[in-house]
Assembly symmetry: C2
Homo-oligomer: 189 residues x 2
């Protein structure tokens, strides 16, 4: 809205590696600030059967650090399109997070993310590297740039999800204000 | 999902004042962690004409600290249902944030929030106070408990919005992964 008249109605910021890395660094801090110290009923709250709690989401993010983003980046750099990525297990956290506390998971996520960003920096990726292609088992040919952009957007997707899951826990408590709160009504904008 | 079989498919955590205050304290930290130091094109990015950028959202939150939540709490305690709340200006930030930087706004928000939570603590609200009623100009009778629950949910609504606005800026850059990212596709779950 602050930009009306200054640009056309299309959205998008071009991928810049240093900016993407800065955002990936923020995520463990943002999620820690949202969740650490919260009572268990908030941490394990979800949006109904089959949906994830904040606890589940953090476990999912840890599994992504270990098996998804950087392993796939290495497959692209080492094998290109000749070797498909391994499939990602979207329910790994239901066993891997067993017996852990939220504080355990927040600590693990921060450590794994740091390790991955150190490894990413050590790759000293060029624009030509970012154009390199790999093969996703379902989506087909993708580039390293798209993989890294997706890592960022995926973080933001799950920050959005955690905020939504938490906000919805007050669906009843807000009373008539329910009509105004998009986090509860489910509308966007 | 971690809770399947342990509870029915309904969501909600009951309002507890100390928990609500803890969440209200987190919000400036979360938003600071999400945004501080980001390049201008991210901070002023929006979702198209008529939508808000992260910069706009922080200005809106500041205006709420000054004119919405605590002023309304005081009207409830001092006047009950006899005096309607003043209307809230949802576009005040477009003039009030003029000429300011994001860092200015993040600082103002943190200060105003701290001041309001100090004032809220000083009220030493009882359960009976939380049941007290006021009058919203459009929604009619509401309680102080509902007002405070809405303050929390409203924070989370806008954290969700900031994450969504940021994530959508990579709509093109993620390539085929667009189909999997709810932050971009706009689906929920």
């Amino acid at each position: 809205m602050s930009q009306i008249g200054e640009k056309a109605d299309r959205i998008g910021v071009p991928f810049v590696l240093t900016e993407a890395i800065a955002m990936l660094q923020r995520t463990p801090i943002v999620i820690d600030a949202l969740l650490r110290g919260s009572p268990d009923d908030w941490v394990t709250a979800d949006e109904g059967v089959g949906t994830w709690s904040p606890f589940d989401v953090v476990g999912h993010l840890i599994h992504g650090e270990r098996t998804d983003w950087m392993p796939r980046a290495r497959i692209i750099l080492d094998h290109g399109e000749s070797r498909s990525f391994d499939r990602f297990d979207r329910s790994a956290q239901f066993t891997e997070s067993n017996g852990k506390t939220l504080a355990d998971l927040l600590g693990e996520f921060a450590i794994e993310r740091r390790r991955n960003l150190d490894a990413l920096a050590a790759m000293r990726l060029t624009d030509a590297d970012l154009d390199k292609r790999g093969r996703h088992p379902e989506l087909g040919v993708v580039t390293l740039r798209q993989l890294l952009a997706t890592w960022v957007a995926h973080d933001l997707d799950h920050i959005m999800q955690i905020a939504r899951v938490l906000g919805r826990q007050y669906s009843d408590e807000v009373g008539p204000w329910r009509a105004y709160l998009r986090v509860i009504s489910g509308t966007q904008g």
